[in-house]
């Protein structure tokens, strides 16, 4: 396909040099470290992150304006966190002029739509200072995560230390160190339907996007995509925030990222097409027309 990874200037494998952040980061601690750096250097006034919510492993989007708050949001919660719901409030109630936001590829699409077609997003377009996209194959409603962890993995959400998707498995790791790996075949039916028309895997519209795929454990694959992204990234590198390796020198490398991106996009394109002839002369709606 050739467009599956979106536009980017550079792609590297990287991990944070900040021990405190790495302690609880999902992968290479890219998101938290970059926001912490940007906050400290006035590149952003705050960032919309997915912090702890009312229930165990339920995310709650909020506007972090301190390093401590950023750190409280480390790690991936595999269920929906409506990040963009705070985008206008960040500029109004919170008075931020330079907003950071992290989100899935669809949320990066939402951010860019808010900038290009600000239907209700008054004064937002000029205030997005750093949008970090995270790779995403699918997401789950909260109830699904409950079923996956409690019914399939047979453990408690409260007792879960980390969840990971990778190498064809949904892995639940408990506080006591037990690791339960479920084949993704089991979890597919719990995905939210909206993900099945999604045509972006590596957050093509982030200023920077990152995920675990393509890099060794504990490292992240990072795409630097826009001028804003490049500027911030270069400053962070100069300040020693990250160790990096050329993506060509790590295993499994970009080939795997491309492969997965193509798989996702072609599967979901097929879904979009099937929706067009779903009934007898009746279509399900196509948002891309």
């Amino acid at each position: 396909m050739g467009t599956e990874l979106g536009k980017y200037k550079v792609c590297v494998s990287a991990r944070s040099t900040d021990k405190e952040i790495m302690w609880k980061a999902q992968d290479g601690g890219i998101v938290t470290s970059l926001f912490a750096f940007a906050l400290e250097h006035g590149i952003i006034d705050g960032a919309i992150v997915a912090g702890p919510g009312a229930r165990p492993w339920q995310p709650r989007p909020f506007i972090a304006t301190t390093r401590e708050e950023l750190l409280s949001a480390r790690g991936t919660k595999y269920n929906i966190s409506p990040q963009v719901s705070w985008l206008k409030e960040a500029t109004r109630s919170f008075g931020l002029d330079k907003v950071g936001i992290v989100g899935t590829p669809c949320q990066m699409q939402a951010v860019r739509k808010a900038q290009l077609y600000p239907v209700g997003m008054r004064d937002v377009p000029d205030k997005v200072a750093l949008a970090i996209g995270i790779f995403c194959m699918e997401n789950f409603p909260y109830k699904s995560i409950q079923m996956i962890v409690e019914d399939h993995a047979g453990t408690k959400l409260q007792a879960t230390k980390k969840m990971e998707i990778g190498k064809g498995k949904f892995t639940v790791i408990t506080e006591r160190g037990k690791s339960i790996a479920l084949p993704l075949k089991i979890t597919h039916k719990y995905e939210q339907p909206g993900c099945h028309v999604c045509l972006d895997y590596v957050a093509n519209l982030g200023d920077i996007s990152t995920g675990s795929v393509g890099s060794p454990d504990g490292w992240s694959t990072v795409f630097i995509r826009t001028k804003k992204g490049e500027e911030t990234w270069n400053k962070a590198i100069a300040a020693g925030c990250f160790e990096t390796k050329p993506i060509e020198q790590v295993k499994p490398g970009l080939d795997l990222v491309s492969k997965l991106a193509n798989e996702k996009i072609s599967k979901n394109k097929k879904t979009v097409e099937e929706r067009a002839t779903f009934g007898v002369n009746k279509a399900l709606r196509n948002p891309y027309l």
Binding site: S85, A114, Q115, V197, P287
Partner: protein
């Protein structure tokens, strides 16, 4: 994209951007031209029954509005702004407010607007959907006068819709710039403007009612919602919250402005425009300098 920007700022298009050259070129450029800009489009603000909030939004572009009136558009009609009594011929009519059908003159005015304007833009919720001038609920009870107001699309064909209450200064600005490019630009600019305006033209064809229910019917119940949160951010009356990641609308608060549906990335999403977000945002930025 480079050539869009160049022609817009009146510079000679060049083969490739060389930062160093651009700098010297800028220095050599003579002070701002004195002669009036001949190639402007003509724009009118047609005030039907609205609260003038839409006009205030247009004005909230501050220097951007001055720039628009200096370089891109002559204001040929506008209550209190242009000393013109009868609706003249114009390229673009920005219509604010719904039509009071008890008032013969209003009905005639909107029909005249259609005859005299090449492009009719419904600016804001009242012109587009009736909004608060009709029985929108929004915490109110049904009142007799609600029955007197119709969105302009019930009386004339509308070309472009800008939903929202108030519509954002930035979307009005973008539509003005794109209308200029569409009518006066190079072939390439015309193509871009056409692509940009297409979904807002499709919204005009979609109908003259809006509601939170649009999200329920055409996004959520079509299996398209992915929980980004844009709708909640867009809603001017905070009628939308998210429960377990999905929008929850208080329909009794909803004033039927259409912002949520218009902002939702799963109402319309045009890759050919969105993928170029960085260039287009720079283009609009450049046009405002």
């Amino acid at each position: 994209m480079q050539s869009f920007k160049k022609t817009l700022t009146g510079e000679e298009p060049k083969a490739a951007a060389k930062p160093a050259e651009v700098k010297t070129e800028k220095k050599a450029e003579p002070k701002k031209e004195e002669k009036p800009v001949a190639n402007k489009i003509t724009v009118g603000h047609v005030h039907m029954s609205g609260c003038t909030g839409c006009l205030v939004s247009l004005a909230d572009n501050y220097l951007g509005l001055v720039k628009i009136l200096d370089d891109y558009a002559d204001l040929v009609y506008g209550l209190t702004l242009a000393d013109v009594r009868h609706i003249p011929e114009m390229d673009v009519a920005l219509v604010e407010g719904s039509v009071c059908i008890q008032d013969h003159e209003s009905v005639e005015d909107i029909k005249t607007t259609r005859k005299k304007a090449k492009v009719v833009v419904a600016v804001g919720g009242c012109a587009s959907y009736g909004n608060i001038t009709r029985f929108a609920r929004g915490g109110q009870v049904n009142q007799p006068q609600h029955e007197s107001f119709l969105p302009i699309g019930n009386l004339i064909d509308v070309d472009v819709v800008i939903p929202g209450c108030a519509p954002t200064p930035q979307l009005i600005r973008n539509v003005c710039v794109m209308a200029y490019l569409l009518l006066r630009g190079t072939e390439e600019q015309k193509a871009l403007a056409g692509k940009y305006l297409k979904p807002l033209m499709a919204l005009a064809k979609r109908g003259t009612t809006a509601c939170f229910c649009d999200l329920m019917n055409d996004v959520i119940n079509q299996g398209l919602c992915m929980g980004c949160g844009s709708c909640a951010a867009a809603c001017p009356v905070r009628a939308i919250t998210h429960e377990f990641g999905k929008p929850q609308g208080q329909r009794d608060l909803c004033i039927k402005c259409g912002a949520c549906y218009g902002q939702c990335p799963r109402s319309f999403y045009n890759f050919e425009v969105m993928d170029e977000f960085e260039g287009i945002l720079e283009l609009i930025d450049g046009a405002m300098k």
